[in-house]
């Protein structure tokens, strides 16, 4: 019998896209019952995002959705139908935690503000993830994670000196929020266990994202921030960069911080003349002659595969690593050994790797209990088994179109 951290914990997710559902991924992966409430009337953006099985954009074909939605239940329910709305209220009464990641105001439009939810379930914990929070003038502005990359100053930190800016192609802060949000959510669960009190959590993706740049945002009279673009260099280390290796678009990252590491690097690379050259003997000199140093190092790396560079330097105690593409990651022996991807059988996608948890808990390791759900796969299960509806009641709701 698996030990499940959140055994018996009941969670209802009015989820949308990434940050909110990824927060609940933590709970689902450690054994909570997480019901993702969906509607084919407004399918989640991830369900309509590539990649698709056979490049066919059908609702259960998205690999993006499936990658992140392991261990969850899916039920469809149309809140605009009176019957559907009644079922949603039953789910709120059932839940320990209700999660919302729609644009602020959407729940209110359904008549499901926190105040209303408390009438249904007085000790409910409501966690709301949004771009900029539930209050303030910009609360209701539409936007996606890629936009927050700009607003939170993240892309301002990416680029080469004196060149065009470089964007991040991913919704960076969407994947940052879950760590922070779930830490607070579990704190709130702990507090409720002791006091019986629920509460509301208001999580702003912008506000969370700024935590990853906090030292640059500290403000005091006369404060100055160095925001110059630095490429891959580091103010106090050299070589510190990404170097081209043998093969097509193959690269290796190398970082040398101390003089001892530099000597180890030269020895491992079989370059005794580098080791003896005073131009590179100290960190001050290496920084002064960094351009020449980088060219020299790259001349050497271009003769080797990135795998060989990594292995050789790591053996010598120098930090080095392949710049892994998604194929490399899928085959990475370290990730494999640690079970980073959870393989399960998905009804549409077949044998499929779901994203796992990024750590291993010694007593209660997370695992894939079930593959990502098809839309509405568990509607009947949720209604009959979790809510205890009679068959007649369920059929009645079904006939009236509550579950679309």
């Amino acid at each position: 019998m698996d030990k499940k951290v959140f055994n018996g914990l009941k969670v209802l997710d009015f989820g949308w896209v990434i940050a909110g559902p990824m927060t609940l991924k933590y709970l689902a992966d450690y054994g909570a019952t997480v019901v993702n409430l969906e509607s084919s009337q407004h399918p989640d953006l991830l369900r309509t995002s590539a990649p698709f099985k056979d490049n066919t954009p059908e609702i259960d074909n998205s690999g993006y959705f499936a990658y992140l939605a392991g261990n969850k239940y899916s039920m469809t329910c149309d809140l605009d139908q009176p019957r559907g709305f009644e079922v949603a209220k039953k789910l709120i009464a059932w839940a320990d935690v209700v999660a919302d990641s729609h644009r602020p105001g959407v729940l209110e439009n359904w008549g499901l503000s926190y105040e209303e939810m408390k009438k249904i379930n007085p000790s409910v914990i409501l966690i709301r993830n949004s771009n900029q929070g539930q209050t303030g003038p910009a609360a209701k502005q539409p936007g996606l994670g890629n936009h927050i990359n700009g607003l939170a100053g993240i892309v301002n930190q990416v680029g080469w000196p004196n060149q065009e800016p470089i964007s991040l192609q991913v919704a960076y802060s969407d994947y940052v929020v879950p760590h922070f949000a779930v830490a607070a959510l579990i704190g709130a669960l702990d507090y409720r266990r002791k006091t019986g009190k629920g509460q509301m959590l208001d999580i702003s993706q912008l506000e969370v994202g700024l935590n990853l740049f906090a030292p640059n945002l500290i403000n005091y009279p006369g404060s100055k921030v160095d925001e110059s673009l630095k490429g891959n260099s580091c103010d106090y280390a050299a070589p510190h960069g990404v170097y081209r290796c043998k093969g097509e678009d193959r690269w290796c990252a190398i970082t040398v911080f101390t003089d001892a590491e530099w000597q180890a690097f030269c020895k491992a690379a079989g370059q005794s003349e580098w080791a003896d050259n005073t131009k590179f003997a100290t960190v001050l000199n290496r920084k002064k002659n960094e351009k020449q140093l980088n060219e020299m190092v790259e001349k050497w790396t271009m003769q080797q595969t990135s795998e060989d560079v990594m292995t050789l330097l790591q053996k010598a105690g120098v930090a080095a690593g392949i710049v892994e593409n998604t194929k490399d990651l899928s085959e990475d022996p370290q990730l494999k050994e640690r079970g980073c991807f959870w393989i399960g059988h998905h009804e549409v996608l077949g044998e499929f790797s779901h994203l796992g948890q990024a750590s291993i808990l010694s007593e209660t390791p997370a695992k894939l209990y079930r593959s990502a759900p098809r839309m509405g796969e568990h509607t009947e299960y949720v209604c009959r088994e979790l809510l205890g509806m009679s068959q007649e009641e369920f059929d009645c709701c079904l006939m009236e179109g509550a579950f679309i």
Binding site: Y26, P142, H147, G153, I166, H179, G241
Partner: protein, 417 residues
């Protein structure tokens, strides 16, 4: 009644981390835990990291240290000495969490393995943060920020197609790992509180940073497409067609992209409407039926044709003009902000995001980014600035552990504290 003590006020955290783990304890401290940062008597390595207060490199002026050690108390202790280890064992007995970010194997070499710590306190949650985790073929690999970012996917897709992959300049890998470590420590905490059992949380920074590659892994699995670098564009997500993500304007850049689907249509129509009002729109764009836009089938030629006039339009405005107007019209367009823009952001001000913390040692108030979550019953609080070296030695060693001043002086002189 709002509880102002913080929801974790009953718990004690021993924080043995270096800069690779500070944020974990800081997050627990923000939620009210009593976090004791334990550092080497010579000062923690992270105190050497810039930027510095008034640009003065000094162990007590590192803004990196300040930012990620808020809400902690601090003591010095050399855990490589026998006396230091005895003191640590006494602290472990009364602690609820212990967080560390040493190389894997280091604590074992001191006789402080998880098994040993668990023997001293079976309820403790011990969290270890390392580049690649405590197990597996790379467990002894060295991993700096750049190396971990390289080995987790985001870098390969960031940068220009013909030049080297690029990291985010401000080191991210261990901040992501530390935030995940706080979350996973809370998972283990929940289990401890309901079962009585402590456990070891083994965090891999590589796996944490891997979350950021988004749909890259399924894109490879399902469609055998490799996500590639595309400069300031988005590419490979839908088809080979590139979509511009960063757009030049008068005084900088804005984030915007032409999207299909219901939310995309609204924004696209609103932009065109605005352009029409300004009398600056080519006929084909004016008449374009956004409902027919299908990013799976969009050609590069058509995408470029749509983007060109919009790009020219943006050049006429500053980023704040563009944001203000987009705000009114519900257009999904946001400025690319620098630190100053963020400090002046009206939304953050309206939500009282920033917190002022008094630094008596500098005779100054310093403003920090505030709460990562707003909780209605148990708000996060900021009432302790980052500790000075050994600031709370007397609190912990004398008042709590009952050591005498003579003992303290002895330990100080022998370099233990």
């Amino acid at each position: 009644m709002v509880n102002n003590k913080g929801m974790l006020s009953a718990y004690r955290v021993l924080d043995l981390t270096n800069e690779n783990g500070y944020l974990c304890g800081k997050m627990l401290g923000d939620m009210g835990a009593d976090v004791i940062k334990i550092e080497n008597p010579r000062g923690d390595s992270g105190r050497k990291l810039g930027p510095f207060y008034q640009q003065i490199p000094d162990q007590e002026k590192s803004l990196y240290w300040f930012a990620y050690n808020l809400n902690k108390r601090g003591i010095t202790l050399d855990i490589e000495t026998a006396d230091g280890q005895q003191i640590l064992n006494r602290l472990i007995k009364k602690a609820d969490f212990i967080i560390e970010s040493f190389d894997s194997g280091y604590l074992e070499s001191l006789g402080l393995s998880y098994e040993k710590i668990h023997e001293i306190n079976p309820r403790i949650v011990m969290t270890s943060i390392t580049p690649f985790g405590q197990t597996g073929p790379y467990k002894d690999f060295k991993g700096s920020d750049l190396v971990v970012m390289a080995m987790s996917g985001l870098m390969y897709i960031t940068g220009n197609p013909d030049s080297a992959p690029l990291r985010i300049s401000f080191p991210q890998a261990f901040l992501l790992a530390s935030a995940h470590a706080a979350a996973s420590s809370m998972v283990a905490h929940y289990y401890r509180e309901t079962s009585g059992e402590g456990q070891h949380v083994d965090v891999s920074a590589q796996e944490c940073a891997l979350w950021e590659i988004a749909n890259g892994i399924p894109l490879w699995q399902v469609s055998h497409i490799l996500y590639k670098r595309a400069g300031s564009f988005l590419s490979g997500r839908w088809s080979d067609t590139k979509q511009r993500l960063l757009w030049q304007c008068k005084d900088g850049f804005v984030s915007f992209y032409i999207l299909g689907g219901p939310s995309g249509i609204k924004t696209n129509q609103a932009i065109v409407k605005w352009m029409i009002e300004k009398g600056e729109v080519p006929e084909y764009l004016k008449n374009y039926d956004w409902k027919t836009l299908d990013m799976l089938k969009q050609t590069q030629e058509m995408q470029d044709r749509l983007e060109k006039p919009i790009g020219e339009f943006f050049l006429r405005f500053t980023k704040s003009e563009l944001y203000a107007e987009s705000f009114k019209r519900g257009i999904m367009l946001y400025p690319v902000c620098n630190a100053k823009d963020i400090q002046e952001n009206a939304q953050l001000k309206a939500r009282d995001y920033w917190v002022n913390v008094r630094h008596p040692e500098l005779c100054a108030d310093i403003t920090y980014p505030g709460a990562f979550a707003k909780l209605s019953e148990t708000p996060l609080a900021f009432n302790k600035r980052a500790p000075l070296i050994g600031e709370h030695n007397s609190d912990i060693y004398e008042k709590e552990l009952g050591m005498s001043k003579v003992e303290l002086a002895l330990l100080h002189q022998s370099g233990v504290i």
